[in-house]
């Protein structure tokens, strides 16, 4: 950028954007939807393909009577049901955080975000317990009540560990991002991000709503 004679810079639109240190994409909207929110919906749409494709394959193999699917009876239904309760509750707390952020109630927003992170933590602890009971049965019963079950045991367990593992990664990622956003909330900055992470978290909840009946209930 060159300065005009006399030292004052030209007040172009680009210059103003540069001076406010905000990328143009966050302030431009063709659709009428804030760019950040539109971007999150794009991400979620691509996630529909990832988890949807996985679930479709699971359904196809199950319909085809692939061996191993009867072992769905070995999954821990109470643990899965408890985790569904935890995720539904954490969905409530993150939407309450969004509502609080719209009122600019920073303390409540911060608290609700951390309730949600706690929900994610509880989910991960239960998931750790479930995984270890399958992979290391000798940790819980001596002698072990069954052979170790891993991702290579059969097609059902391949789906189980792939789908729940990918989902758990999403839960973990959401927890980390929520922690970062909560720091901004304390300073009253970027409150719109509370809604954005909320959208993501509800999607993670929805994925679990489908994984729960597929992996824990439909054991026929």
């Amino acid at each position: 950028m060159t300065l005009r004679e006399g030292g004052s810079p030209p007040r172009t639109f680009a210059w103003k954007i540069l001076m406010t240190h905000s990328p143009i994409a966050t302030r431009r909207t063709v659709t009428g939807i804030p760019t950040g929110r539109l971007a999150v919906w794009w991400v979620l749409t691509s996630e529909v393909f990832i988890f949807g494709g996985l679930i479709m394959c699971f359904v196809l193999y199950k319909l085809n009577g692939a061996p191993g699917f009867e072992q769905a009876s070995m999954t821990n239904t109470p643990a899965g049901a408890f985790n569904t309760f935890v995720l539904l509750t954490s969905s409530l707390t993150i939407v309450l955080a969004h509502a609080a952020s719209e009122r600019r109630d920073l303390k409540k927003t911060f608290n609700y975000i951390w309730f949600t992170i706690f929900g994610g933590l509880v989910f991960m602890v239960v998931k750790f317990y479930e995984y270890t009971t399958k992979i290391f049965p000798e940790w819980y019963h001596t002698p072990a009540t069954h052979e170790p079950i891993t991702i290579l045991s059969n097609v059902f367990w391949s789906f189980y560990f792939t789908a729940t593992g990918l989902h758990a990664l999403h839960v973990f990622g959401g927890m980390v991002i929520m922690g970062m956003i909560s720091m901004d909330v304390l300073k009253g900055r970027n409150l719109q991000r509370v809604e954005l992470i909320g959208l993501y978290w509800h999607f993670v909840d929805i994925v679990w709503i489908f994984l729960f009946p597929l992996l824990y209930i439909a054991n026929f």
Binding site: L88, I206, I217
Partner: protein
Amino acid sequence: MSEAAHAHPNYVKIWVILLILLTVSILGPMLEIPWLTIATAFGIAVVKTLMVAANFMHLKFEKHIIWFLLTIAFVFLGVFFFGVASDIVKIDGANVDGVIQWQDCLANQSCTIEQRVK
């Protein structure tokens, strides 16, 4: 519709309904009737999803382009499902021997690593 243009749903009430639906989806399959299991477990999963999307994600207040995005995603999922369903559910044609051999070894848990990779 902009965020300011709509009132918030009663989130706690939605959450209570979701928990009631969760309870039904757990109790229904306990009767061990396959069609009832599918109806309660998967039917309720669809209802719960719609409730979370509409109320918690504010989809019912969202602009049409978001609905368009999601519709495209589900249409292509349908194309994927019906595109590969015939290959998986009805096994015949090229390399049928290899597929049957693979299924047999899966059935009696005797697959080698090479067969799994194949």
